[in-house]
Symmetry: C2
Subunit: 772 residues, 2 copies
């Protein structure tokens, strides 16, 4: 869906009128509200809009408005002759959701430009009645974020339909400000609903007199005129409007104050708040799809009635969490279902279906025969703490080291695994951790070759430490990922030599290693670096094939088992890279390597709530087996495996897998990256096809790489595009060049209607080495 | 609500029929289903139950069943003469929800005992139509967890009402297995709904022929007989029933396999899985209020058709997270609203309303004038990591220590702050951490006096290290919390002396301290120990009044400010104790002390999703201010301040505050604990009344304490009851005595209908010192 602003102006209140059912009196009640605004706000204007109507034109609702209101302008955008649901009436003349929204926006915009006033937008039928394209209206209009007057159902059964309609609006993020319905003495719906909504939701329910029964035209006119005169004087009408007016003002006030307020109260992550001013804080009113609705900054030159909200592209997918877009109603329903069914279930000696199903699903999706166990925690950092505890214990028990042995991990320079102390200690000293009081790097971090496209040429750039630093050119990125071929050519040999000699040097110093920890293929937070996959594969192979250098390992030598860890437990941190980020279920498959421990979060819950899983092999699990409770992995969090997160993850994985299978991404694959034959990739079988692809067109990647005065290198894989800039100011943190290019990228972002989330990130954490 | 089992038997499928609206043909469709079961499962029995009906008896739905089905037994539990909504019809003859549920359970139970078959339970009106007590049926029946056939609405507007009804059932944890509706050529609802539900939810929509129009009695009979003959042969009827049958079997199979499956796949927190067998794992089907629905264990002596589910009390409130009970629909709606409105919003340079409102609310609720800043993270452990980073930086910068200075924290023995390495390092070496490879206790942990009721006498038990160990008797617990009085008597002096001399000894050794970290009043995970509040208050005072012993502190001496931290930053870990757990908003108020940093989680989100806040004072915040980004608190998680968690927390806090204000807990307060005058406590003003209370009756606490052969001591405060047992086997971990007593407590748990969550925990982590 193309982005459109939510309908918010300072002096023009836009109200959406939804019906709890069809035929509950939406038009009559809207007419009453229109008339009352004309009386209370005499100097302002009131307008009525029925975006879509069906049925003969002379019966159309705006004619009712014309007849029974005074001084109210009215409009209708799309009219179908048949008195049927719009999706049927529209057959052969379907209007896209985008066009409906754009037309409503334009109408509301013109209304706002005409001066202070009100606009009532009346929907058709019930809240989920489909619009012309078939999209239920509650979904269709959600991004407009209009406050809602819900017309309640006065009929038998109307209590149920009113509460139901309210809840369905609410779970789409609508603010239902008021409920208005006709009063029917016998059914008494209004009495019940008044009490119910005040107690449960603090919402006013206004009961209005029942309009007269339909009469012949002239008589009807008279009766209705009298009715309107009477009804518009009911105090609850005024109360309803006052509330709408108050809530409108307080919404704007809260939005406008929120930056200053946040600046006072919030302590932001990763932020030097001395350098942060209120104007740097962006107030978010809502989000849908790939866009936030953000407050438009004050501008002295803007007209007095400018829109207050505008869509803003979520360029980093909210820290790489969004897989299916903001405000996705499937995820909402999944979350709500689990909340309703369970709430939370303490995860000790108990099991619930969402946790077990997610464990099963994650074990399957990794296509890793080693992995058999799932440990739950709350985020990538805690999941990595768990992974480290698992690996170190496995190594220590196998090699027979005492409990107080100092154990290091083996990793790559520039790696990042989270911000809790234990995971910080897995990274080499750097700007992000060296001032943290309890940080103490516990490892050896290797240099590595990286992959970039430079001036139209794909290169593997080899550090000078490796014998002699040089660049290898490749004709395309897939050839770099064709590891078998490269091994056959012996390209891994110098990697092997570097790794072995480095390891041996540290072992000779008496160091003991307990884990190899890698972010496979891409170092995410460490500057969006594409590591030569051959190097990472070689590193794992060296570690596994030379077990004896790490300790006396009788076990794995004597009982060979291809699922048993060897040398060091291999931990893959797939928090960033996993779950289709790089175009495959797992980044590990690019390395043709099965880790012993694998950590997943971010995309797993589709951008809704925190959850992490640490998957482990049985040979890791067995390291904790004993008769002693104190030998167990004594780690846990209160909300471990919370059903809401598990259910959302299941829904999210299901959608991602189905998008992959049904070829939703296929449009991108041939775009310079793949041959036609390569397009259909069946994720059920292990990925043997080494060809890689990105949703960023290859021609675009090449084009960017030609800007060699500003761009040091570029690469794209899956949904990630990384552009490494030459920083003119020498700072690794900020770069105005980066900002300029990002703006151009955002402006030109392609094919957003596909449902695929495309995001770009030029590493704001880019290390200075890459700003050569 | 008193606990009742969900309706699940192996050979008896219980199906609940809900209507998308009133008058959509529930009874006709149920009759069709009943007839079809008789044809397909000839050897089985079919029953029909209308729990509540209104209207003249001869028009009642079960009469329709009697007339148009064959071999179907039918029942009605509660009948009202007026054809109105039951909540109106029932005026003067209201039936409680409990009684309705118990009657339904009993009917279903009898049906199941009669052999294999089906039971269709038809609801009244729409899904949210109120039952006799006024509770909407969708809420009333939720805990029964029957699979649902939703009768769709064939009328104009019926698409909307059908989708709405579906969603409202879904968010209460219902499994809607099938949607059945009449086919109406012109409206075409069934075509739309078929496509919609298959695509969005994978659910079959069955469209059945429209029944004949109503005719005079005899004619009607004929027409309907013919209709039923025809309709029951529609293939979709059979498909619907087959699906219900399959889902019934697969639900049972999944439940019965889940323990073995979990035993294979799940790596449980805090669990020695070598000691865990599948039979020790409890499968949970759902949860509501204070109870889980758990699979009844196999028993050779049980009758062949025993119930498969039973309610089980959630004795530790799911690790102390539940404040408002499981499956609370207010929390569900809050979660879904935020999911619909935002999804997630990356919390960097942005602000959204739920985060800002929660920050404001948490700052208010602490009633601590020092606190001004809110940092968000995902759980108590990460929140404490943040707290430690905050405190150490503040101390190091004020005292001018270099970055590589070794800094310790000051705490109490037996403290627990989480399982990430950084927070583990805040606890003294113990069974839970000493085998963890990277654990390295970084602190000094003081011994402390604790409070218990022993043989009917409240005591402060003073460790022998303090001069001379002895017990002080008090006439009641409130007197122990009357700190002013005790200070006036000089009781704090020996505490002061012990603290100062211990500190001085460590300082003389060259140690540097960076924080005082306390769980105020109660050590939760460390054995449910009630620490003498006078000791904790004295400890804070000593630290603050003797700043010069920790370092050269020119700042606080030269610019006195009662909000500035002094001596050491004081961190309160209120993850367990905060938010009414101990009967007050904050446990800190018992100590009449304002910490500089305060950490909150667990109850904050009411038992739904993980979220934590670390609150800090401006003088802590300022320690990170500089022109350098690298001086900032470089900590964060992807889902920091996720809107779902914030919105749920806001709803949860609102409810807790309102329960406190409106005296929902007042029934407990006078129960031996308080005088009548003390009952109304206004939480808006700081708590100066030192009297304490618990929801556990004082007489009960005294009674338990008299069992001195088994019970070493007992105490109760707020919702916590802790019984310290004498362990006969000398083990700190397991105790059969504990298990026996717990069973008795669970059996006798009092006054559950009050909506107050009462839980007991006999510390499974009880330290051996308390099993004297």
């Amino acid at each position: 869906m193309s982005p459109i602003g939510s309908l918010l102006w300072r002096h023009s209140r836009v109200v959406q009128v939804y019906g709890s059912n069809t035929d509950v009196g939406k038009t009559v009640i809207t007419s009453i509200l229109c008339n009352a605004t004309r009386k209370i706000w005499k100097d302002e204007k009131t307008a009525y809009l029925k975006p879509i109507s069906t049925g003969p034109r002379d019966e159309a609702d705006q004619n009712h408005i014309a007849r029974f209101t005074t001084g109210v302008s009215y409009g209708n955008l799309f009219q179908y002759g048949e008195p049927l649901s719009p999706h049927i009436a529209a057959k052969g003349n379907v209007i896209s959701d985008d066009r409906v929204l754009a037309s409503v926006y334009e109408y509301a915009s013109r209304r706002a430009a005409a001066g202070p006033g009100w606009l009532f937008i009346e929907t058709a039928g019930g809240i989920h009645s489909p619009g012309p394209s078939g999209t239920p209206q509650a979904d269709l209009y959600a991004a407009l974020r209009c406050p809602v007057v819900l017309v309640g159902d006065w009929k038998l059964g109307g209590i149920s339909s009113t509460i139901s309609a309210f809840e369905c609006l609410k779970i789409r993020g609508y603010d239902v400000e008021s409920i208005v319905l006709f009063n029917h003495d016998r059914f008494g719906n209004s009495d019940y609903l008044k009490e119910y909504f005040m107690e449960k939701h603090g919402i006013l329910v206004a009961a209005l007199p029942m309009p007269p029964k339909r009469a012949p035209r002239r008589k009807d006119n008279e009766l209705m005129q009298a009715y309107y005169l009477h009804a518009s004087q009911v105090p609850e009408v005024k109360e309803t409007l006052k509330r709408l007016d108050d809530r409108h003002s307080s919404r704007i006030k809260a939005l406008e104050n929120s930056a200053a307020d946040a600046h006072q109260k919030i302590w932001y992550p990763f932020t030097q708040q001395s350098l942060l001013q209120p104007k740097d804080i962006l107030p978010i009113d809502s989000a849908s799809g790939n866009h936030f609705q953000t407050l438009v900054p004050e501008s002295p030159t803007a007209p007095s009635e400018k829109p207050l909200l505008q869509p803003s592209f979520d360029g980093s997918a909210s820290w790489w969490t969004q897989g299916l877009g903001h405000g996705n109603s499937s995820l909402t329903l999944a979350a709500a279902y689990a909340a309703g069914r369970y709430g939370h279930v303490m995860f000790a000696g108990m099991v619930h279906k969402p946790a077990l199903d997610l464990a099963t699903s994650m074990l399957e999706i990794t296509q890793n025969p080693r992995l058999s166990r799932v440990f739950f925690s709350d985020n990538g950092s805690t999941g990595m703490e768990v992974a480290v505890k698992m690996a170190l214990r496995a190594a220590r028990t196998r090699y027979g080291w005492s409990a107080d042995t100092k154990i290091d991990i083996l990793g790559l320079k520039g790696s990042y695994h989270g911000d809790t102390i234990g995971t910080m200690d897995c990274s080499e000293p750097n700007t992000y951790n060296e001032k943290v009081e309890w940080y103490e790097g516990k490892g050896v971090w290797l240099d590595y070759p990286q992959v970039q496209c430079v001036a139209g040429q794909w290169q593997v750039q080899i550090p000078s430490e490796f014998d002699a630093g040089r660049q290898h050119g490749f004709s395309n990125l897939s050839d770099i990922f064709h590891l078998d071929q490269r091994i056959a050519r012996g390209e891994h040999k110098k990697y092997e030599a570097y790794i072995l000699s480095t390891l041996q040097r540290h072992l000779d110093e008496g160091r003991k290693f307990g884990a190899l920890i890698l972010e496979p293929v891409v170092l995410g937070a460490g500057g969006m670096v594409l590591v030569d996959p051959l190097f990472q594969k070689t590193l794992v192979d060296v570690v596994r094939n030379n077990a004896s250098i790490f300790g006396s390992d009788s076990l794995s030598t004597n009982s060979p088992d291809d699922k048993m860890w060897s040398g060091l437990p291999v931990v893959f941190d797939e928090v960033f890279t996993g779950l289709y980020r790089l175009g495959r279920p797992m980044a590990a498959s690019f390395l043709d390597t099965h880790p012993d421990i694998s950590v997943h979060a971010k995309l797993m819950t589709g951008g809704l709530v925190p959850l992490c899983v640490t998957l482990a092999s049985e040979s890791i699990f067995d390291a904790f087996a004993s008769e002693e409770k104190s030998d167990a992995l004594l780690h846990g969090h209160s909300y471990t495996a919370h059903p809401v997160g598990c259910q959302v993850a299941l829904e999210s994985l299901k959608k991602l897998q189905s998008m992959d299978k049904t070829g939703d991404w296929a449009w991108a694959k041939p775009d310079g990256w793949l041959e036609a034959d390569d397009v259909v990739i069946d994720s059920d079988v292990p990925q043997t096809n080494p060809r890689v692809w990105s949703i960023w067109p290859l021609t675009f990647v090449h084009w960017v790489s030609l800007h060699t005065t500003k761009v040091a290198g570029v690469w794209a894989l899956g949904s990630v595009l990384a552009i490494h800039l030459r920083a003119s100011d020498g700072s690794g943190y900020t770069s105005t060049a980066a900002e300029g290019l990002r703006q151009r990228l955002l402006a030109g972002v392609k094919n957003e209607s596909s449902g695929v989330v495309e995001r770009t990130l030029e590493g704001s954490r880019q290390r200075s080495i890459h700003n050569g």
